[in-house]
C-alpha cells in the first residue's frame, strides 16, 4: 500500500457563489508500513485534509489535485467505487468516542456491519470476526460485552471499539483524527500503545492528526506541520521536533508550557495564616435510600498560603471538579471544613457567606460558556460587585472596569463589546478580569487553559503569574495537564479517586514521584522531546 498525495486545494463554495480556499498545496507520502503525523493548531486544515483523503468532505467543499492510493487517483473515482475503497482500504477513527458510535446499535453489530459491507461472508461469521477484533483491541471481557450498547462503555473502551470498526474490513492505512484528545492521560497511553502494536503486527500505515506534539512524537516517524491551511515544514519527526527549520514550528514547540526555573516563588512566611485551609473534607453521593454511590472527595486536607499557587493534577473523575465546587461553597460537603481566612464557610449564615464571596472567586475551563453571550464585557466583569454595597458607581465604576481590562492585557474599548467578538484566549482574559475585580485573596482556576491552543496557554499562564505578583492573589490551579501544572505551581498535589496521593514541590512530585499512581501518571506523559515509543519493534537509529 502506498499513498501519494498532492492536494492542490480544498475549497468551500458559499451561498453567495464565491469560493474560499481552506487548504492548499499539501504534499504527503505514506509508503507501506510507515507512520505520518500532521500537527497544527485548530483551524490549520489538518482534519479537512484527512477527510479529503477519505472522500468525506462536508457538503459544499471540494478537493482538487491528486490522491494516489496504490496508483489509483481517488479524486477521480465515482461514488460507488470510492465507497468500496473507504473502509476496505482506508479506515478512519475520530476524536469524540462519545458520539462516534450509533447509540441504538450493539457494538458487535456495528463492527460486523463494516465486515459485511466489504466481504462476502455470512452473518455468523461476521459476528465471530467481530469478537476476534474486540479481543485484539483488548476490550476487557469482550465475549460478554459484544452485545452491549455504546453508552454502557467508557470513553477509552468506546475508542477501542472505534478502532475495531476501522480495522474490520482489513484496511492497509489507518487515519486517526485526534484519537486521544478527549481521553485521559493514562487511557491515552493505552490507546496509543494499542495503535502502535496494531500497526506493527498488521503491517499497516498510520496517518495521525493531533495538536499535541507529545502524541505525534510518541508514535509518528514522519511529521508534517500545518498552519492556516498550508504546510509549513515536514520531515522525520526527530528532526522536525528537535531541529525545526521554520519559525512557526519553533513557536509551536516553545509554546509547550515549561517551568521557569529562574523565577523564585515568593517566600512563604510560615507564621502567616493560610488563605485557605481545608480540613478532612468529604463529599459523598448516596442514593435516596442511603446507599453509598461514590465518595468524590475522600478526606482531603491542605493549606494554601497567601499569594501561593497550589496545583492539583488528576485525571477526569478523580474528584477535582467536585472539590473545587465545595471549596467555592457551591456544593455542601458531607463532612469536614473549608476555612477561608480562618472562617468556616459552612458554619456561617447565608448572608454572611455571600459577603465573604468577594474574597474568593473562580475561573472555568470553557471560555465560551463562562461568559453570557448577551451581556457586554463591562457588565460581565462587574457581576461580582453586586454583592458589595459599597461598590463604586458611575464614573468610579467605569474606572474600575478600565483598570481591570488593562490588568488582563485587553483594551478599555473592549468594555462595550460582546463576547463573540473575542477569541478564546481573550475571553479567558475577560473571565479572569471578572474573577479579580473585587480583589479576592483566592482564585480557583478549574482547567483554565485546557480548551485553548498551545501558544495561548502560555500567555494565560504568564498573565496569572503576573497578577499573583502584583496583587498577592493565591491560586488553586486544577488541571489534567502535567506540563501546565508544572509550569505554574509553587506546590503540587496529585489527586486520585478523591484523595491527595502525593503533595510537594513540582520538581519532586512531577519528576521523581513516590506514590505508585503518580509514577504511572507521570510515566504516561508524552513530551515532544522524548523518543518514539509506540509502534517500534526495536529502537531505530535516529535520522538527524
Amino acid at each position: 500500500m502506498s499513498l501519494a498525495v498532492q492536494l492542490d486545494a480544498i475549497t468551500l463554495r458559499q451561498w453567495t457563489g464565491r469560493s474560499q480556499t481552506l487548504v492548499r498545496d499539501v504534499v504527503l507520502d505514506i509508503p507501506d508500513g510507515t507512520t505520518l503525523g500532521i500537527v497544527g493548531e485548530s483551524g490549520s486544515g489538518k482534519s479537512l485534509t484527512a477527510l479529503a483523503l477519505m472522500g468525506l468532505l462536508p457538503a459544499g467543499m471540494r478537493a482538487s489535485g491528486r490522491i494516489l492510493l496504490d496508483g489509483t487517483d481517488l479524486l477521480q473515482l465515482p461514488a460507488t467505487a470510492m465507497r468500496r475503497v473507504r473502509g476496505a482500504r482506508m479506515g478512519m477513527i475520530f476524536q469524540e468516542p462519545m458520539t462516534a458510535l450509533n447509540p441504538s446499535m450493539r457494538i458487535g453489530a456495528q463492527i460486523a456491519e463494516g465486515l459485511l459491507a466489504h466481504r462476502h461472508i455470512s452473518r455468523s461469521e461476521a459476528q465471530r470476526e467481530a469478537l476476534r477484533l474486540l479481543e485484539r483491541v483488548q476490550l476487557p471481557r469482550a465475549r460478554a460485552r459484544i452485545n452491549d450498547y455504546p453508552h454502557q462503555l467508557s470513553g477509552g473502551q468506546r475508542q477501542r471499539v472505534g478502532i475495531a470498526i476501522a480495522l474490520a474490513p482489513g484496511p492497509k492505512l489507518l487515519i486517526a483524527d485526534e484519537p486521544t484528545t478527549a481521553l485521559d492521560v493514562l487511557v491515552q497511553a493505552e490507546v496509543l500503545q494499542l495503535l502502535g502494536g496494531l500497526i506493527r503486527d498488521l503491517h499497516m500505515s498510520l496517518l495521525l492528526i493531533s495538536h499535541d506534539l507529545g502524541v505525534i512524537a510518541s508514535i509518528c516517524e514522519q511529521t508534517l506541520v500545518m498552519r492556516d491551511g498550508a504546510p509549513v515544514e515536514s520531515g522525520p519527526t526527530g528532526q522536525v521536533l528537535r531541529k525545526p527549520r521554520a519559525p512557526y514550528t519553533r513557536e509551536l514547540i516553545a509554546a509547550v508550557p515549561r517551568r521557569d526555573e529562574s523565577r523564585v516563588a515568593p517566600g512563604q512566611d510560615g507564621s502567616e495564616a493560610p488563605v485557605l485551609a481545608v480540613r478532612n473534607l468529604v463529599r459523598e453521593y448516596r442514593t435516596g435510600t442511603g446507599r453509598l454511590l461514590a465518595r468524590a472527595v475522600d478526606d482531603v486536607s491542605f493549606d494554601v498560603g497567601r499569594g501561593e499557587i497550589f496545583g492539583i493534577v488528576g485525571e477526569s473523575g478523580c474528584g477535582k471538579s467536585t472539590l473545587s465546587r465545595v471549596i467555592m461553597a457551591l456544593d455542601k460537603p458531607t463532612s469536614g471544613q473549608v476555612l477561608f481566612e480562618g472562617t468556616d464557610l459552612f458554619a456561617v449564615p447565608p448572608r454572611a457567606l455571600q459577603r465573604l464571596r468577594t474574597g474568593f472567586q473562580m475561573i472555568f475551563q470553557d471560555p465560551r460558556g463562562s461568559l453570557n453571550p448577551r451581556h457586554r464585557v463591562a457588565r460581565i466583569i462587574t457581576e461580582p460587585l453586586h454583592l458589595d454595597r459599597n461598590a463604586p458607581r458611575g464614573s468610579a465604576l467605569d474606572d474600575m472596569v478600565v483598570q481591570a481590562l488593562t490588568d488582563v492585557g485587553l483594551s478599555p474599548d473592549d468594555a462595550r463589546k460582546l463576547p463573540h467578538q473575542f477569541s478564546g484566549g481573550q475571553r479567558q482574559r475577560i473571565a479572569i478580569a471578572r474573577a479579580l475585580i473585587c480583589r479576592p485573596r483566592l482564585v480557583i482556576a478549574d482547567e483554565p487553559t485546557s480548551a485553548l491552543d498551545l501558544p495561548v496557554q502560555g500567555q494565560i499562564l504568564d498573565l496569572l503569574r503576573s497578577l499573583r505578583d502584583r496583587y498577592g492573589v493565591a491560586f488553586l490551579f486544577i488541571s489534567h495537564s502535567l506540563a501546565v501544572v508544572e509550569a505554574i505551581a509553587d506546590r503540587v498535589s496529585v489527586m486520585y479517586r478523591g484523595r491527595f496521593v502525593e503533595t510537594g514541590a513540582p520538581a519532586q512530585v512531577l519528576r521523581a514521584p513516590e506514590h505508585a499512581y503518580s509514577k504511572q501518571l507521570i510515566g504516561a506523559e508524552l513530551r515532544a522531546d522524548q523518543p518514539r515509543r509506540y509502534g517500534v519493534a526495536q529502537a531505530l537509529p535516529s535520522h538527524s
Binding site: P103, E113, A117, H151
Partner: protein, 314 residues
Amino acid sequence: MPAILLRRLAYFVATLLVASLVIFVVLDLLPGNAAAILLGTSARPDTIAALQQQLGLDQPAWWRYLSWIRGLFTGDLGRSLTYGVPVSGLMAERLVVTIPLALLALLVAVGAGVPMGVWAAARWRKLPDHAASVVAQMGIAIPDFWLGILLILFFSTGLNWFSAGGFPGWGQPLAALKALVLPALALGLPQAAILVRVTRASVLDVASQDFVRTAEAKGLPARQVLWRHTVRNALLPVVTIVGLQFSFLIAGAVLVENVFDLPGIGLLAYQALSQRDLVTIRSVTLFFAGLVIIVNFLVDLSYLWLDPRLRARG
C-alpha cells in the same frame, strides 16, 4: 427494567385520576345544582328535590365522585340527562365510529408524513425537498374541518364519488369504510404535513452527528447509512410529536364528525354540550382526556425500545 415500567404505569394511573378529578370538579361541583339548572328557574323546590334524589345529587360530593369512578369499571356511567338512556350505551355505539376514524387518520398521517419527510431530507436542498417543504408549510395552516368541507365540495358535490356525510353502520363494512375515507383524509392530511416537517428536521439533525460519519467511513452503502443509522435514531422526536399531535387529532375528530355528520363521540360531545347534558359531557371528556393519556403512556413506553440509553436510567 420492570421497575421503570411499574413507575410509568403508576404515573399513568395517577394522571388519569387527577384528570378525572378535574373533570368532576368542573362539571359536577362547580355548576351547582344540576337539577335546578335542568328544570329551570321557575321550578318548584319539591320538584327539584325529587329530581335531585333521582339523579343521586343529594349525596355528598366525594360519594358522587367515587360512584362515578366505580361506574367506569362496572360500565354504569349514569343516564343521559337529555335522552334518558345509559351513557355507556350511548358512548359504545359512538365509539365504533370514532375509533376507526382516528386510527385511519393516524394511518394517513404517519403513512404519508414520515416517508415523505425522510425522502425530503435525503434530497436536502434539492428541488424535491423544497417542494415538500412548501406543501407541508401550507398543509399545516389548513384547518381540518375546512379541508373536510373542501373535500365534500370537490369529491361529493362536484365529482359525486363519495356521499356528503352520514354513516351507514358497520353492517355494510365496505360502505362504512367508504364513508370514513374523506373524514380520515381531512383529519389526517394536516397531521401528515406536520410530520413531514418534524421527520425532515429530525433526520437532518441526526445526519450531521458523528456516528453517521463513522458509518460512512466504513464504506457502507448510502441507503444503509440512511435507514439503519440516521432514520433509526431520528425516530424518537417523531414519535414524541405523534403522541403530542394525537390530542389535536381527537379534538379534530369532534369537528370532522360534525362536518361529515358521523355519529361518533365527537358529535356526541357537541350535542351533549348544546343540551347541557352534564352527565354525558362528564364521561365523554374523560374519554378524550383518557385517550390522550393512554397514547402518551404508550409513546413513553416506546422510548424505552427506541433509545437503549433510557433503559438504564428510566
